[in-house]
């Protein structure tokens, strides 16, 4: 398994009725990596993670984790993979320690080892003194860190964290991110985390994938991605009066145009080659007035922020 990816998804799709939540996704995460899985809300991140863990069946394609097929051998995958769900929950009426002990029992960790491991992990995540407090009294940030301790109880090879910093203040988020980096360095774990916050992911991840509407639109190291996108793709802001649906249609038909978005008279056109003259022609042909046309640099941040803004 030396050169095999720890997480390996091939042509993974999930369809809910009409909605394609995940669309032919390909993804490899190598041992020891911190992989950032970026995408706005509703992009399909959680769905992908559920398929990786065998918690939901892929419609097509397959996911393998640590060499095991997630749909066919979910128990083997779950034994080796720690998963921190989005909005992780604990039994509020039990103490932190009791909650973690339950996880240990579910993993068949021998009782003695479990006791010492629970204490150790509470310390690792910076909660050494609250083991006997009921979780109902915990703040959100504390629960999230307890969630990471919970994930570590089974001593996993891979950990998958779904939005680990969601709803946590910047200071708390920073602590969690530092903790993740620490786990990767000291415990040599492979880590995949999903987020809709670019800056956080950029800071700690060696590689990122950007998922939009179920499709992986970019995949690579952060530096690499920025350059590649700048070189390969462009975005045009066009203001036309009036920006009719016919105009949008005719621009969409121009070869090289990937996507057109309309808000009022402003059109945002994504293309993978030079299309400015053809767009200008389309505007005049539909008898609209071209008021403005501007070329955007298509950087990682910009595409990401645009998707991000739109999703909110």
């Amino acid at each position: 398994m030396a050169d095999q990816a720890i997480i390996d998804a091939t042509n993974l799709s999930k369809v809910y009725g009409e909605l394609v939540a995940v669309n032919r996704l390909n993804l490899q995460v190598q041992e020891g990596e911190i992989f950032g899985f970026l995408g706005p809300n509703g992009a399909g991140k959680t769905t992908t993670i559920l398929m990786l863990l065998g918690l939901t069946e892929p419609t097509t394609g397959a996911a393998r984790v640590c060499g095991y097929n997630s749909a066919r051998e979910p128990l083997k995958v779950k034994r080796l993979t720690g998963y921190l769900p989005e909005n992780v929950g604990f039994y509020g009426e039990l103490t932190a320690r009791q909650n973690l002990m339950y996880t240990a029992r579910l993993n068949a960790v021998p009782e003695k080892l479990a006791v010492s491991r629970v204490s150790e992990m509470m310390e690792v995540v910076g909660l050494p003194d609250v083991g006997d407090k009921k979780v109902a009294e915990f703040s959100r940030g504390m629960k999230q860190r307890l969630g990471i301790a919970d994930v570590l109880i089974k001593d996993p090879k891979v950990i998958i964290l779904d939005e680990p910093t969601l709803g946590i203040d910047p200071d708390g988020s920073a602590r969690i991110l530092d903790l993740i980096v620490d786990l990767s360095h000291r415990r040599k774990m492979t880590i995949m985390l999903s987020s809709h916050m670019l800056y956080q992911v950029q800071r700690i991840c060696s590689r990122v994938g950007i998922l939009v509407k179920g499709k992986m639109v970019a995949l690579g190291s952060v530096d690499q991605l920025g350059k590649k996108l700048e070189a390969g793709k462009t975005t045009l802001d066009v203001e036309a009066s009036p920006a009719t649906p016919e105009l949008v249609d005719s621009i969409k038909r121009i070869p090289g145009v990937l996507n057109v978005e309309k808000s009022g008279d402003l059109l945002t056109i994504a293309a993978d080659k030079e299309v400015r003259s053809l767009v200008a022609k389309a505007v005049t042909q539909t008898r609209s007035a071209l008021l403005q046309m501007r070329l955007q640099d298509y950087t990682l941040e910009e595409i990401y922020l645009r998707y991000f803004r739109e999703a909110h």
Binding site: L50, L53, L75, R79, E86, Y102, T103, A108, D150
Partner: protein, 313 residues
């Protein structure tokens, strides 16, 4: 298996320490003790006049006096509530609090969760019933001074087993509701509504429906009255409550010889001897098997729904 045991023990300890279980247990215990005390008083005065009556010990559980129903009726009334209380939020609470996805990402089969929860509820019910029976028996023995015969003990054991399965039906129903409804308030209300319907409204509906189909009055010929009563009973038997009441009534009262309506001619000349245990069992065999089947069916429906459900945080 190990995963299921982990779930089982966690649930058992949750139940045993939960306020709602302890409150119900206390209510049933107090009511049961009071009923036993009152029953024992009347049994004692009767024993004084008729020292060789049979099945004295069982009457501790079945005698009523004045307004207070007998012990078995308390179990019949509160038992379903215990089942509902133990199960109505079994699944949906874990979904809404986000613990379910954490549990299911551990290496255990998904059915371990629902099996463990169901069995933990059954174990809790068993512990509750056995301890109630032991307490009540102890008190009864103190008060009347007549020990149970072997047959009486067997009948009590059968009563406990039937009650466990019957309460497990309500537990399974509650768990099913906790799978079907996302909110715990909805599943609780839905389950209670169904209980009220099956326990109380069924009686009225059965009466009204029978009277509509076969109208009778005081002057009606006996055959018509019997047909009316049979229809009524048939409809009522669609409710597990009726089945349980019939089964228990026969198991703990050896004097019960028949469950349907009877004509005076049919019983004339019959000596009212108590039935042997095997005869009692024969009489309520259909009731018993139906209760078992209903319990299995509600659990199975819940099981299948749960296995198919997608779990998100």
């Amino acid at each position: 298996m190990r995963g299921m045991l982990a779930v089982f023990w966690k649930e058992v300890s949750d139940h045993m320490g939960s306020r709602r279980f302890l409150i119900l247990f206390a209510i049933i215990g107090l009511a049961g003790l009071w009923a036993t005390y009152v029953a024992a008083q009347s049994i004692r005065s009767e024993l004084a006049s008729n020292p060789d009556s049979r099945f004295v010990f069982l009457r501790v559980f079945t005698s009523s006096s004045g307004l207070l129903p007998p012990f078995v009726s308390f179990i019949g009334f509160f038992g379903p509530l215990v089942g509902l209380a133990l199960g109505f939020d079994a699944i949906n609470r874990e979904m809404s609090e986000g613990t379910m996805s954490r549990v299911l990402s551990q290496p255990l089969y998904r059915d371990s969760v629902i099996n463990g929860k169901f069995l933990a509820g059954v174990a809790t019910i068993t512990v509750m019933l056995l301890s109630l029976i032991l307490i009540v028996s102890g008190l009864g023995l103190q008060l009347i001074g007549v020990p149970p015969t072997q047959e009486e003990m067997l009948r009590l054991l059968l009563f406990v087993m039937t009650s466990i399965i019957y309460i497990a039906f309500w537990l399974g129903l509650a768990i099913l509701f906790s799978i079907l409804f996302r909110r715990t308030a909805t599943s609780a209300l839905g389950a209670i509504a169904l209980w009220v319907f099956l326990s109380f409204f069924m009686v009225m509906i059965a009466g009204a429906a029978a009277d509509a189909a076969i109208p009778v009055n005081e002057g009606s010929p006996p055959e018509l009255l019997v047909r009316n009563a049979n229809l009524r009973q048939g409809i009522m038997r669609m409710s597990p409550t009726t089945l349980y009441d019939e089964a228990i009534g026969t198991i703990v009262s050896p004097g019960v010889r028949t469950l349907g309506p009877v004509l005076v001619q049919q019983v004339q000349g019959l000596i009212p001897t108590p039935l042997r245990l095997s005869q009692s069992l024969n009489l309520v065999w259909p009731q018993l098997t139906t209760i078992v089947a209903l319990t299995l069916v509600v659990f199975a429906i819940g099981y299948v729904r749960f296995m198919r459900q997608e779990i998100r945080a």
